[in-house]
Amino acid sequence: MLILTSFGCGLLFGAGLLISGMTQPDKVLGFLDLFGAWDATLAFVMAGAVAVTAAGFALARQRGGPMLAEKLQWPTRRDIDAPLVAGAILFGIGWGLIGLCPGPALVNLAGLSLPVIVFVIAMAAGMIGHDLWRTRRAPAPVQAPLRADG
């Protein structure tokens, strides 16, 4: 049931990205290009997504627990540290170069176009490479579970 639900949520998420136009890098770059023919669509997408998410999250907190699992896994970190800042800068540069972030990149895989496949492989390599580098640099005894915010 957990698997089916996750698939359904992924499907809905992908449909949202497609309908909103955010799977098209030129729409995203149109928003990021303040000095060109500015396209504000991404702001409407964010507004719609944040509003519905906030309502859903409020409901989840009120209920106390999820329906198909043991507990609500909220991100726990609140600190603003150097990796957060450096990571956001690197992500911002990569996002600005092409106009693809992880969600739209994965949705676009369905089209099997070579540029998208290259992007996703490079993205995967970056993720694996970063985690290898981090564990080698600091063989931490505590491998914090679900450290990621998202």
Partner: protein
């Protein structure tokens, strides 16, 4: 502003929000795509099943849309594979180092009013805007 599509933007955004809300309400998980995908690749969590299912759902969306007569997405990408690979690497490293992307920090984090996520979102938005300004208009225009 001639390219603005506010209604499909709002509706699509609301669907993204609905998927994110349902994933939390039903499974207790945060719908951060880089976290879901990265956790699968780096095997730190040992819960691959739901991650694979979510990503399969993402990829199935455009395939199912073809049944409704919509063409498969053909994103406009730069010609240079080196540029594409560099961008992909930066997105991969950056989202892992910064613990999130547009969905995890941008949508989920802002909906939770997390200062950490608001900070990350502001930084990657500004950095991306500066990057586009440099790439499209050159330094100082």
């Amino acid at each position: 502003m001639h390219n603005l599509t506010p209604f499909s933007g709002l509706i699509g955004g609301a669907l993204i929000g609905l998927a994110t809300a349902l994933l939390m309400l039903l499974t207790g998980r945060i719908a951060g795509i880089s976290g879901i995908f990265g956790g699968l690749l780096t095997r730190t969590t040992g819960d691959a099943g739901w991650r694979i299912a979510f990503i399969a759902g993402l990829i199935a969306a455009p395939l199912l849309a073809t049944l409704a007569g919509r063409p498969l997405p053909t994103p406009i990408m730069p010609a240079s594979f080196i540029m594409i690979a560099i961008a992909g690497l930066l997105v991969g490293i950056g989202t892992r180092m910064g613990s999130g992307c547009t969905s995890g920090h941008g949508v989920c984090g802002i909906a939770r009013l997390s200062t950490r996520s608001l900070t990350a979102t502001a930084i990657f938005m500004i950095t991306a805007i500066v990057t586009v300004a440099i790439v499209r208009h050159g330094l100082g225009g």
